[in-house]
């Protein structure tokens, strides 16, 4: 494939800015498709050109495959970068790129099919010999009840087409199963246009650990793991790399399983294999694979020194991987805090509005990925994440200390943010000790609110 010269970015917010950053470094032009609400966003200012896709609601702009393709073709782009969320794992977009001679900066349509449907992904994982949480599909309440008999409560209902916690329901008792199944089904249908759900055993004490995969379709390597156990309502809040306190055996098991899975499905591009880790039993289970750049990719970049977006572009261009597993060396420890425009004092209500001040000075070991500028408008239509603070240190303690300094020094005023929550997490003993599980943050929030 020819080198990419102009990328259409089918996304918004900080990830659009992140992609522009690497494109500028590579000398590649960018066209950003924006909704009406994002006309004045930083990404629109920084891109070589911005075109308006449609009105503010995503369904009328960011999610319209045909409009995105048309806009990319009409502006002379030769590739589309879908970012994360929106159309990033949409097979129709990847296919439309292929038929329109556009390079899709992501995996193949077949890859997307293999992991987009979570039940299919489970089957692949099973075939690849990767451990799975006991469970399966349930079309009816009867199916679900039968499954529950095999697997036992508590159970977790998940959307087959899902992600981001939407359509996820925990069920503790048999008598709640039917109602929760209905709820999950309709949530899934609303969120993904696909109401299918499946059930898994709910592992009560688990950590969320994921492995960064880089593959050109021939060579599959990993760039270490990330721990994303600090979650609120299935949304990641703090991520870090490497995962603290894993035994070498457990870590190697995770890395090997991820590579094995990616190889099994012939994966090509960046991707992330997510696992639920039962640290006490030294066991882990395949959750899903995300076939895109991940929000938390900067912590991996910090400890590896890689530019993952540059690699993703290079793979899409058809270039063989410029590095082997041996070239990946991990150094130090990195932490990411997602700054959201939401008010912890009001049950994390989103707080869109105009930013008065946005100042993120260069502090030692700090990286900030953001689309915030003084006077920027945070529209109420999209995700509330407005900045990612990433600190890197020689040790985990240093990374934490640097993040605490960043939270003290940086300014994001005019809107409420979850910065106080991050400060509370970073000064909490359990977090500082490292290795908390996914129950940690709800517990901390309960303790704080007491």
């Amino acid at each position: 494939m020819a080198p990419i010269r102009r990328i259409f970015i089918a996304n918004r917010g900080e990830i659009a800015v992140r992609i522009i950053r690497t494109a500028r470094a590579l000398g590649i032009e960018t066209v950003l498709g924006v909704s009406e609400a994002d006309r004045d966003s930083l990404g629109a200012q920084l891109a070589t050109r911005a075109v308006c896709l449609g009105p503010a609601p995503s369904a009328q702009s960011y999610l319209k495959v045909g409009t995105v393709i048309e806009a990319a073709l009409g502006t002379g782009c030769d590739a589309i970068h879908p970012g994360y969320g929106f159309l990033s794992e949409n097979k129709a977009l990847a296919e439309a790129c292929a038929t329109n001679n556009l390079t899709f900066i992501g995996p193949t349509p077949a890859n997307l099919e293999a992991v987009g449907d979570k039940l299919t992904a489970r089957t692949h994982a099973g075939n690849a010999g990767v451990p799975l949480v006991p469970g399966g599909e349930a079309e009816t309440a009867e199916d679900a009840a039968t499954l529950a008999d095999e697997v036992g409560f508590p159970m977790l209902i998940k959307a087959v087409a899902g992600g981001g916690g939407k359509g996820m329901k925990r069920v503790d008792r048999a008598e709640d199963l039917a109602a929760q199944l209905d709820l999950a089904t309709s949530e899934a249908a609303a969120a993904f246009g696909d109401g299918r759900v499946y059930l898994e055993r709910y592992v009560t004490v688990g950590r969320h650990v994921e492995v960064q995969i880089i593959s050109d379709g021939e060579t599959v390597i990993h760039a270490g793991e990330r721990d994303c156990s600090v979650q609120r309502r299935y949304q990641k809040v703090v991520e870090e790399a490497p995962a603290p306190h894993l035994t070498p055996k457990l870590r190697q098991g995770l890395l090997d399983a991820a590579v094995k899975f990616a190889r099994h499905i012939g994966y090509r591009s960046l991707g992330t294999v997510e696992f639920l880790v039962d640290v006490e039993r030294e066991e882990f289970y395949f959750l899903e694979m995300n076939a895109r750049i991940q929000v938390e990719h900067p912590v991996t970049e910090a400890i590896t020194g890689l530019d993952l977006i540059a690699l993703q572009i290079s793979i899409a261009e058809g270039a063989p991987l410029p590095l082997t597993q041996e070239d990946i060396s991990l150094g130090g420890h990195a932490i990411e805090c997602r700054l959201n425009a939401e008010d912890p004092a009001r049950d994390f209500m989103p707080s869109p509005g105009r930013v008065a001040q946005a100042w993120f000075p260069s502090l030692p070991g700090l990286r900030v990925d953001t689309h915030m500028t003084p006077g920027a408008m945070i529209p109420p239509f999209y995700d509330s994440m407005v900045a990612k603070l990433i600190t890197h240190g020689e040790t985990r303690a240093e990374a934490i200390e640097r993040m605490q300094a960043a939270l003290k020094v940086c300014a994001l005023d005019g809107i409420a943010t979850n910065a106080p929550l991050h400060a509370a997490i970073l000064s909490d003993d359990a977090f500082r000790q490292g290795g908390v599980d996914t129950n940690y943050l709800p517990g901390l929030l309960a303790r704080i609110s007491e």
């Binding site: 009406e36 004045d40 308006c52 045909g66 409009t67 048309e70 806009a71």
Partner: protein
Amino acid sequence: MTGLTRSDIDDILRMIDGSDFDELRLEMGDLKLELRRRGAPAPTPTASTTAPEPPAIPATPAVPKPAAVTAPVVASGGGSEVPAPLLGTFYRAAKPGADPFVQVGDTVTEDSVIGIIEVMKLMNSVTAGQAGTVTEILAENGQLVEHGQALIRIEPS
């Protein structure tokens, strides 16, 4: 008058957008500009001096409608602009070689088709939306138009 250009007005809009103001009224010679943020209460017609009385002053050509405040392209030199209802390739005629739907000087009604926007082989006809006379064709045939981009200008009848 030679005062503000369209890009000046764009700039003013952006400025106002970034400020805490809900409303701007500007009169310079024969130009009057009124801006009101969407959702802002309409001004109580109090001040005797500047209250715009639609019946009294029939032709306020340079005053954009409230909706135009958030539209990407606002009126500049008189007349109203017909914005693209969606992003796609704009065609002035039904097929290559055919006569354009409209020419400068044509009279249109609200429902007159003024062009076609193609998105992924789907053809969407665009209507004038108001009656009047076509004074300018703004978008190029066969080119990409953005959502909201001005296609033609109409002097309302």
